[in-house]
Symmetry: C2
Subunit: 267 residues, 2 copies
């Protein structure tokens, strides 16, 4: 683990990342020591910094650090945190130098059946708050995710689906959600809440390439229930089909989900 | 500065306080080495921990640490941070031991005229998101406060007022807001957003004792404009009258504001 390039697992307790969650993070898959989809992650991180007016990190240096962190790992996870750093007067973020943290985490062994037979999901009680200024960002203010994930302990449930106050299905606690209806993909536009995942972008691009239309549309209760196929995705799990949403419905692991899973394997 | 009782200014970069803003904080005034309104702060902190299902700290030990931190200081600020600690699986908060951080900060010299002549405030563009599960808590997810405070740089403006999506006036970026109309106090109930400040509680209690009725009611645009008096409060500034809200109106520093300022001085 490195903090501002130095090998250490400690940061200043005055860092605004701790004090205010004033920062962003990225979680990347590492294969044979190399971060996957690096450019996409860095575009998101840089754009996130711009939106929060944090000076964006030097992407080349960051790549060197991630490679150094994860050297020799067959499969692992790299986590990058960028905070606004120390200083400012209270909330007022004046004259700060960002902190960057890079870390290599062991690959979490996900059950193979999750991607093959599909998962069981539940619908969370917590409703995501609408904040367009933060929507889409992978920022460090993640209490909603923590509270949503704490809603269940049953290991048979692999993910919780999150709705906004209007009842629109936005995402999973750690993933993005897609529904398939009549051969078309739908996912929330994430203009009010949610995290715009890198795998979500990739899924949309792969669908496009295969002539599958993908729409950024809100997903309401009837649309979820009547979907032909349902899946979640993120940079680590790729695609997990949803075979059951508790109290909502059962879904087949259908041909489009399989096609997209296959497409991701070969990129 | 102490982290889990040890004198250090560094914490683990794996702490959930940094990773997710998974924690709470308190900011207390220190007078002659003693924290002010200790019990009220500890009630709020303990209740906040209960709501987030974080094991509440040992309040007696915390008091010892704050006293040790701030020993001999005529006036200073104590900051206490409680996080859920390290561990868990991703967002899932299993088997964690909370981290507690205590820190003594020099007293910020506020301009005397702020409390005497009153301040100029502005209305922030950012609208506070509605999240009843977090409303009232002084949690570490403070990106909204950071973005709101970054909206202006003019030193003549001492505070920014924050509205929710319905246009209700909730609070200031670092304070609570009261309006006075026809001899009665009004402040938002903070059921959807905002931080329930200790000085807000004290103001309400002092008003009550003096036979001034105080209502927890939403404050809309006309009510703000037509208020007889307006003030903000927090544990460090006590009460600052608002003499002007830019583009909204000018307000006298009226008798009830003065009475409450006086009342706080003698508790």
């Amino acid at each position: 683990m490195r903090v501002n390039g130095e090998i250490t697992d400690r940061i200043s307790a005055l860092d605004r990342g701790l004090l205010y969650g004033d920062g962003l993070f990225e979680t990347l898959a590492i294969v044979e020591g190399e971060p996957q989809h690096w450019s996409r992650h860095m575009v998101r991180l840089t754009q996130g910094c711009q939106r929060l007016k944090i000076t964006a990190p030097d992407v080349e240096k960051l790549l060197d650090e991630v490679r150094a962190c994860c050297a020799g790992k067959t499969s692992a996870v790299a986590k990058i945190i960028i905070t606004r750093g120390q200083g400012g007067r209270g909330y007022n973020p004046v004259d700060t130098t960002p902190t960057h943290i890079t870390q290599c985490i062991p690959w979490p062994e996900f059950p193979l059946e999750n991607s093959e037979q599909g998962i069981v999901a539940r619908v969370c009680d917590l409703r995501l708050a609408s904040q367009p200024l933060l929507a889409g960002l992978k920022h460090l203010n993640r209490l909603e995710s923590v509270l949503a994930r704490a809603e269940w302990t049953d290991h048979a449930i692999a993910e919780g689906l999150l709705r906004d106050n209007q009842g629109h299905y936005i995402e999973g606690t750690m993933s993005n959600l897609f529904i398939i209806k009549s051969g078309q993909l739908f996912t929330d536009p994430l203009q009010q809440c949610g995290v715009a995942g890198i795998m979500r972008d990739i899924v949309m691009a792969l669908a496009e390439q295969r002539g599958i239309r993908c729409f950024l549309r809100t997903i309401d209760e009837p649309q979820l229930k009547e979907a032909d196929e349902l899946f979640i995705c993120n940079s680590l799990i790729n695609i997990w089909p949803i075979r059951c949403v508790i109290d909502r419905g059962e879904y087949p692991v259908g041909p489009l989900t399989r096609q997209l899973q296959q497409a991701i394997k070969v990129i």
